[in-house]
């Protein structure tokens, strides 16, 4: 493989950082019904523990292999699921562009997901890493695949909102 063009990589990284900022803003504002808009139609979205990823086990805490499934989850979270009110903050750092190939970019980024419940302290809900594949559609990036691989193996009760 030809060595990556540093300027192209840097531009892609900036673009991805903007994407992360918008994606997290949408989720952290509680606007979960707009969350599916960040995905391509045939997108794959999975949240799974590192122990599964390392062992090649396919299970997902959340497992969606279409944008329609992502939309169903967004609707359920917003309108039908029973859970205690909470706010989330996503912090995304260490964006590394792995490959730029035409309109497709592969990248990885670290994330920290903070959760605050009613009358509770703010806690680290997850520490993990995004493994992303982006595609460019109509001038903007969309996720073709997002694997959220978390280290926080013992989940504090549940994970309700998207990562």
């Amino acid at each position: 493989m030809a060595p990556a063009d540093p300027r192209e990589t840097r531009e892609a990284r900036l673009e991805i950082e903007e994407f992360h900022a918008d994606y997290c803003w949408t989720l952290d504002c509680g606007d979960v019904e707009r969350w599916p808009e960040y995905f391509a139609d045939d997108a794959v979205y999975r949240i799974t523990a590192r122990e599964n990823a390392d062992a090649g086990l396919p299970v997902g805490l959340v497992y969606a292999d279409s944008k329609a499934m992502i939309r169903d989850r967004a609707f359920a979270i917003k309108h039908t699921q029973m859970y205690a009110p909470r706010t989330m903050q996503h912090l995304v750092t260490n964006v590394r562009v792995l490959q730029v190939k035409g309109d497709e970019i592969k990248a990885q980024s670290n994330y920290l997901l903070l959760q605050t419940l009613v009358d509770g302290p703010t806690t680290i809900q997850q520490s993990g890493r995004y493994y992303d594949t982006f595609v460019r559609k109509g001038g903007r990036l969309l996720l073709k695949e997002r694997q959220c691989i978390y280290d926080t193996v013992l989940i504090a009760n549940d994970l309700v909102l998207p990562v």
């Binding site: 949240i47 799974t48 523990a49 122990e51 599964n52 062992a55 086990l57 396919p58 299970v59 997902g60 805490l61 959340v62 497992y63 969606a64 292999d65 279409s66 329609a68 499934m69 939309r71 169903d72 989850r73 609707f75 359920a76 309108h79 039908t80 699921q81 029973m82 859970y83 205690a84 419940l117 009358d119 509770g120 302290p121 806690t123 680290i124 193996v153 013992l154 989940i155 504090a156 009760n157 549940d158 994970l159 309700v160």
Partner: protein, 431 residues
């Protein structure tokens, strides 16, 4: 963090959590139809549960054989809150022993699962074979000219790891601290064995992966939740809206003769709209406007010879067997003090699944687990119950649906299986 996510009134800081053995644990008036809060909050009773139930005459789930298929395969597991190692020996036999070196007590096995020829405690390098027998002690005879070493009468045979009684049934591995516990099939009883066999008998499992979570609620609440079909038809919008379990349809709450195990069973109605329409006025969780954008998710492939599309089995004291349409798994309950439990989920399919069936199971897995549409609602509800019990001076709950009836029922508007469980529990606990 975790169970102390609650800052106001931390676990253990209230009088009814500090009752010791000198407290008069007298069941309140009302008999089977009431449950005193102290069964969920007292640390002294929790200690008694470990001794009499988890370490007593019970079979505890520890592993699936599919997780340790090869000689030398092992994994860390738990019997009650006690760490154990499950290992397959070179002769194919399965052994369960304490994860605690016989020398100074170090929890020697730190890896979640793996393959080995022997276990070596990292502290002083005592080594054990796959059956838990002590193999080697460095400098056993001391150093020449300096003495030291073990006394002459030290025999390795006397210093192996503490070994548990082990049994397997259709690829499921159970262990017990007791040598007197009955054979596993008798332990389950014919009522429970039947649906257990639907999932496991004659089928080779394929492990799809794991979830783990801490649930800040007493371990018994998880059993009760699955012996409580009433909640299923009210709390879970997915069950209600999509007709997966509807009051008035064909349902069953099956208990064994002793009342300790249970199977919550339901058959998806042929005509969902009609079944739901008949009772939707009672169910606030029903959402007429909720139509799935991706309908594949809830398809049911009829793969079992069973009248039930769903069987959720509670096997006393630490196992849940989940067959919810085509999503299959077990939940291993690790009690973690009166206010908390660790739940270890293992999701699986069968070796005979083709790629599409496996994907279908993975998609449907969104129903269960700590982010599942059903799973997360259960975890939230159980947390709410524990906080209510713990933080208020009121001291009991009621289970009056169905009166004093105990055991199996056809109606889902009944708490007979919860009453049956407590009837058994009180006998075991001397309450």
């Amino acid at each position: 963090m975790f169970s102390v996510n609650t800052v106001i009134h931390q676990p253990g800081s209230f009088a009814k959590e500090q009752l010791d053995d000198s407290f008069d644990y007298k069941w309140p008036e009302g008999g089977l139809q009431v449950i005193p809060d102290w069964v969920y909050t007292s640390n002294a009773l929790y200690q008694r549960e470990i001794e009499r139930i988890f370490h007593g005459r019970s079979w505890n789930f520890v592993a699936l054989e599919a997780e340790i298929p090869q000689p030398g395969d092992y994994l860390r597991s738990y019997v009650g809150p006690t760490p154990v190692v499950v290992a397959r020996d070179t002769d194919g036999s399965i052994h369960v022993f304490e994860n605690r070196c016989a020398h100074r007590g170090a929890e020697f096995c730190r890896v979640r699962r793996g393959n080995t020829k022997e276990f070596v405690c990292p502290y002083h390098q005592w080594s054990y074979d796959l059956k838990g027998n002590l193999q080697g002690v460095p400098f056993k005879r001391g150093v020449k000219g300096e003495g030291g070493g073990m006394p002459k009468d030290f025999r390795n045979e006397d210093h192996g790891l503490l070994k548990l009684n082990v049994t397997t049934l259709h690829g499921v591995v159970f262990a017990s601290f007791s040598k007197e516990v009955e054979p596993i099939a008798d332990y389950l009883g014919p009522e429970i064995l039947k649906d257990f066999e639907v999932v496991f008998k004659g089928r080779k499992l394929k492990i799809l992966g794991y979830y783990r979570n801490e649930l800040p609620g007493n371990w018994k609440l998880y059993h009760e939740n699955l012996k409580d079909p009433y909640h299923a038809t009210l709390l879970h919008s997915f069950l209600v809206t999509f007709g997966l379990m509807v009051a008035g349809s064909k349902n069953g709450m099956i208990a064994d003769a002793k009342g300790r195990h249970g199977t919550l069973a339901s058959a998806k109605p042929d005509n969902v709209a009609e079944a739901v329409g008949a009772v939707k006025g009672e169910m606030r969780a029903y959402r007429e406007d909720f139509k799935l954008a991706d309908g594949r998710f809830l398809q049911y492939v009829r793969e079992f010879d069973s009248p039930w599309s769903v069987t959720m089995q509670t096997i006393w004291p630490n196992l849940i067997v989940q067959r919810e349409l085509n999503t299959l798994g077990i939940r291993h309950i690790v009690p973690n003090g009166p206010h908390s439990q660790i739940m270890l989920w293992t999701m699986f399919g069968y070796e005979t699944d083709d790629a599409e069936m496996e994907r279908h199971r993975l998609r449907q897995g969104n129903l269960m687990g700590p982010s599942g549409f059903l799973g997360l609602e259960d975890n939230e509800a159980i947390k709410f119950v524990q906080e209510g019990l713990r933080r208020s001076p009121s001291d009991k709950g009621i289970v009056k649906l169905g009166g004093d009836r105990v055991g199996s029922t056809n109606s889902v508007i009944d708490e007979a299986a919860i009453r049956g469980m407590y009837q058994y529990y009180r006998k075991e606990m001397g309450l």
